[in-house]
Amino acid sequence: MKLLIRIRAAVINGLRELQANKVRSLLSMSGIILGVASLVAMVTVVQGMVGNFRQFVDAMGGIEKITVDKQSLPKEQEHLAELSEGLTMRDVEQIKATIPIVRYVSPEARVGYEKIVWEGREVNTMINGVTPDWLPVAKRWVNPSEGRFISDLDILHKTDVCVLGSSIVAELFPPNVDPLGKVIRVKGKRFIIIGLLNNIEAQGMEIRSASGKGRGSGGMWRWRNSGVYIPISTAMSKFNGNDRLSGLGLQVATGDDLNYAVEQVERTLLQTHNGLRDFTLTTNEQTLEDFRKTEVAFKLSLGGVAGISLFVGGIGIMNVMLASINERIREIGVRKAVGARGSDLFLQFLSEAAVISVLGGLIGLVVSMGIVSIMNYVLMQAVPTGVVSKFDWIIMLQGLSFSVVVGLIAGVYPAIRAASLDPIEALRHE
């Protein structure tokens, strides 16, 4: 408790010193201000980018996803083209039957980019034939209050039902109309709306959309919120006229099994395709790996820059403290003569350094807000649909404590100098 009282007195004294030497104090703070400002601003912006990319990868199906696409045959196999019928439901059955670590298999039969019509209003969007597995593989869901997704029964009976993305709902229906149960027309055929997909919103950052607000807004996520989904069997029989798939999405139980699963799927597909390599497998792993490297590089380089400026800030504080002690040798002598211990003076000068660094850190936080706002503004001008970094109080707190640590370290040496001055010598100092 007594130490607390001493620290309190020392801090009050430090504030007074600061007030008495405003210009000098501000100059000595400038290093800390810039250090904290750059540190917090950089970490905030990098964090925004990182969060953005994480979500992007997740929106692509996450690390557990394998995508199978059609591919034209390699040259040496071209003459064998008729031996393979391409991706079909047979591949789906085969993968399901032979590779247990593949949890979901989502075949897609794309109908195409078509006009959909409701009561004279129309929108163009992609029509996709899918199965129930599409939901988990795409990491999407249908809120219970917004109907249901396509079921196995819909597939079996080739029903004329559809599920809409949120941006389609927003464009096709007035806000006061419940789309569930309404009938839309696609290429002259009628489909009942049985469900609405969840609206994808980016988290941890704001989405700026040029196209307005409400259901279905959403910048770079916009394409994910569009689309009309119908049973794959309906798509094949009513539109495509064949059972060819446009692609396959697979989800592995865990990302650890990914490479093994890729091998297995490749082997199975080569079998069902009679050895023809008319498909290609892609994962998000490479993307994620590239992104991780970028993240580390950003953090190291920006952190390094900020660290150097904080270091320089610390040296600035030490410099000013040493100069201030030199000016106040007599004061130190007087304080010792009237009964101050070495530890009292140590505490006094350490507190002064701490007060400078805390104030500098706080000003630095304000400056960092300005920097991030300007960067956001510039980014908005360049990319109107881009993401915006948000302030995170944890980052700010870290920046502030960083500055306090730097200030305390920088203050130790001057404080020791002050504490160890000989009172008689100090009093004689002119």
Binding site: K2, R330, V338, G339, A340, G342, I424
Partner: protein, 228 residues
């Protein structure tokens, strides 16, 4: 009156370059409570060194000091700081008030380093001390706003605020005009009534003439010790 401090065989040697300077060379003295003493001597006579050692700012090379019955010749720096803040007051030739603090804060400064004083108690004690020296009308002034005589009165208030047993005044009138010299010396003399031992350290005979006992020093030794 009773003895305040008894020193026996006090030596203090400094090494300066390859020479050893004997600032004190075997000093034996006794100070009673409430004595008014002048230590007289030219510069280099050892009077300042004696003051520093008796004022707990320095330690002797050899010899013993019995202060209020305790042997204090070899104390730790923190223990000496305790004596400075509890038992000793200093008045300097150049006042040594802190320019950024008000008169009241300057006087309260020694109590800042005492754990037995709250903020209110410090202020209260400082006001009493300032009243004692006739400066209670200048509490919020800065030292630079005061005349030399006024500054020295504030410095005396600072020296007595912690109720010390002994006050050392090092050339207290050296920076004052004639008119103020007597007032300051009278003020110092009036402290005796409170049982404080006052020690004037000076090379000025006319200042020393105010004291009841004059100790003349030369080359680190007591040359003469007489009552007047």
């Amino acid at each position: 009156m009773g003895s305040l401090a008894t020193i026996r065989g006090l030596h203090k040697a400094y090494v300066m370059g390859d020479e050893t300077v004997h600032a004190l060379d075997g000093v034996d003295l006794n100070f009673d409570r409430g004595e008014y003493i002048a230590i007289l001597g030219p510069s280099g006579s050892g009077k300042s060194t004696l003051m520093h050692i008796l004022g707990f700012m320095d330690t002797p090379t050899k010899g013993s000091i019995l202060f209020e019955g305790e042997e204090v010749s070899n104390l730790s720096p923190d223990r000496r700081a305790w004596y400075r803040s509890n038992r000793v007051g200093f008045v300097f030739q150049s006042f040594n008030l802190l320019p950024r603090l008000s008169v009241l804060e300057n006087v309260a400064l020694p109590l800042l380093y005492r754990e037995d004083y709250t903020e209110d108690a410090r202020e209260e004690a400082a006001k009493i001390a300032l009243e004692r020296v006739g400066m209670s009308h200048r509490l919020t002034h800065r030292p630079t706003q005061l005349s030399g005589g006024e500054r020295q009165r504030v410095a005396i208030a600072r020296a007595i605020v912690a109720r010390p047993a002994i006050v050392f005044a090092d050339e207290p009138t050296g920076n004052l005009d004639v008119k103020n010299v007597d007032r300051i010396l009278d003020l110092l003399g009036s402290l005796l009534a409170e049982g404080i031992t006052v020690v004037l350290v000076t090379h000025d005979l006319s200042v020393a003439a105010k004291a009841k006992r004059v100790i003349s020093m030369r080359a680190g030794k007591v040359q003469e010790d007489r009552l007047q």
